[in-house]
């Protein structure tokens, strides 16, 4: 549905996006993660047909942005961090205006249906300037959905929303995926990405540094393990050292919790467990441990920076 093939975008001497290649399939949510200025918004604007690529191809629903940007725009719905509404208009007039811009048939019914979906029925005839921040963002989502787009581009849509509204928005995004839409979510919110994204693309200084499922990204680097034990912390640490395993430890819930990395657990475990038992440590649990997406993200971005 969305295909970015070696897309580069320059603004004067600044390269905002460098040789970006990724896809978003129908019914898939892909999160675009990256620090400020990483090129997330530039990527979403190129896909949305607002910006042309300097090099490469951006293809949406089989149409190249270079060949027919208008047709691409007609297939995309865009929600930005700011609701960006004409505040003097009523919600009904605002949605009707965009319905006409997008040549929507049966606009009246579509407006009513969207207002019902987003719980905005009671405020259809109120001016947008009188809306709360959450309601404004809902109105922006209604605008983006007015033409029932195949592709949704969400550029930090939950910025400045309260937790309840953020959750409502997240549920809505997930429900929209069910209609086989391709959804690109540009976000800083790693928790949100971890919860709803099928795949994650990490950008750093305009270049893609990693693509994968949240699960794959959380397994980045050497395998990590967590060992819970009871006993003397000094003796346990010495046992780790004797087994040649470097660790970090903490006390949690009256237990000792050790974290360590090992390329081959089968090779490392016998010596480690023997050393711990010899030191009189009671081992309660040993299990592989995944990074949180946040830790994985920080690790990946740091590696890319170095």
């Amino acid at each position: 549905m969305i295909e970015m093939r070696g897309v580069t975008r320059r603004f004067g001497g600044v390269t905002a996006l460098r040789n970006a290649t990724f896809t978003v399939r129908p019914g898939e949510i892909v999160a675009l993660l990256g620090p400020n200025g990483a090129g997330k918004t530039t990527a979403s604007r190129i896909i949305g047909g607002i910006l042309g690529p300097s090099e490469g191809e951006a293809i949406v629903d089989g149409i190249s942005v270079r060949d027919d940007a208008n047709a691409v725009r007609a297939r995309c719905g865009l929600v930005t961090d700011q609701p960006s509404l004409y505040e003097r208009m009523t919600l009904r007039a605002y949605l009707a205006f965009f319905a006409r811009l997008f040549d929507v048939d049966g606009a009246r019914e579509r407006i009513t249906a969207l207002a019902r979906l987003l719980l905005l029925e009671d405020v259809l005839d109120r001016k947008l300037g009188a809306f709360s921040r959450g309601m404004k963002q809902k109105a922006a989502i209604a605008r983006a959905l007015i033409h029932d787009p195949r592709v949704l581009l969400l550029d930090e849509p939950a910025t400045a929303l309260d937790p309840e509204m953020t959750r409502t928005l997240r549920d809505l995004i997930v429900s929209l995926r069910a209609d086989d839409r391709a959804i690109l979510l540009c976000t800083h919110d790693l928790d949100e990405a971890q919860r709803i994204a099928d795949r994650v693309v990490i950008l750093q200084r305009g270049a893609i540094v990693r693509i994968g499922t949240p699960h794959e990204l959380r397994n980045v680097g050497r395998p990590r393990f967590r060992l819970e034990a009871e006993g003397d912390v000094g003796a346990a640490a010495a046992a780790f050292a004797r087994a040649g395993v470097s660790e970090t430890h903490e006390h949690a819930g009256g237990r000792l919790v050790f974290r360590f990395e090992a390329d081959d657990l089968r090779a490392a475990t016998p010596a480690l467990l023997r050393a711990l038992l010899d030191a009189g440590i009671v081992v309660l649990a040993l299990a592989p441990e995944q990074l949180s997406l946040e830790d994985a993200y920080v690790t990946i971005v740091r590696e890319a920076r170095e």
């Binding site: 047909g49 607002i50 208008n70 960006s84 004409y86 208009m89 006409r100 922006a140």
Partner: protein, 237 residues
């Protein structure tokens, strides 16, 4: 052009007349020609001096709304940039020229109507104060028509130039300042050209000036169309 009309219609309905403040600001233009008409009373001597004063004031009654309109046109895009409302418009399936034309038409129609209304009020108040016969002699239909056409052409030329320049700035204040510069320079140039044109070829120079103004309009609109590109505008938001 259908979508350009749609944008123009929205501008007129919701931005110019969408709230009480806008309506009040626009209605202030009704007061302007009344003051102008009354101020002609200060012209001593009556006769030809009063006729000349009435003609000059009629020109101002038609022209001042047009000058204000140039400022409005200049800030129409920057206001949308400031409020971020331009992004959804740029994301819609509309050609670049339709957006520019829609914005321009959305300002040209109400401002030209205000010019006409202002001149109409001036005509009525002057007729009531100085006699209907005198005002009919000073402002025959062809002069009224000429004043409106000149106001419109000026608005179109200066407005297009202001639009091009203002597309490059980020704030309404900067756009208004640029519009002020365009207005000042354009009045100076128009006045000089007008004076020169009257002196040349027994008044036929005025006709040439009119043709030049129309040609300038076409050129300014073409430059606006080429200069105003989505990619350029979005890069400045």
């Amino acid at each position: 052009m259908r979508k350009a009309w749609l944008i123009a219609q929205r501008e007129i309905t919701w931005e110019l007349f969408g709230d009480r403040g806008s309506v009040i600001r626009t209605s202030l233009f009704a007061l302007l020609p009344i003051f102008l008409a009354v101020s002609a009373r200060g012209t001593g001597g009556g006769g030809q001096r009063l006729d000349g004063a009435l003609l000059g004031l009629a020109l101002q009654a038609a022209f001042i709304p047009a000058l204000t309109g140039v400022g409005l046109i200049a800030s129409t895009f920057t206001a949308e940039k400031e409020n971020q409302t331009l992004v959804p418009l740029l994301a819609a399936p509309i050609g670049d020229f339709d957006i520019v034309a829609g914005k321009l038409i959305g300002m040209l129609i109400p401002v030209t109507a205000t010019c006409g209304a202002s001149l109409g009020v001036f005509y009525v108040v002057s007729g009531w104060l100085y006699g209907w016969g005198r005002i009919a002699r000073v402002l025959p239909p062809e002069i009224i028509y000429a004043l409106l056409v000149v106001s419109f052409l000026y608005l179109l030329t200066a407005g297009s130039v202001a639009l091009i320049v203002a597309a490059r700035v980020r704030t309404s204040r900067a756009a208004q300042q640029l519009a002020g510069l365009v207005i000042g320079l354009s009045i100076l140039v128009t006045a000089l050209l007008g004076a020169g044109a009257i002196a040349l070829f027994e008044g036929w120079g005025l006709v040439v000036l009119g043709v030049v103004l129309i040609a300038l309009d076409v050129v300014a609109l073409e430059i606006a169309r080429r200069a105003w590109q989505r990619s350029e505008v979005i890069a400045r938001i």
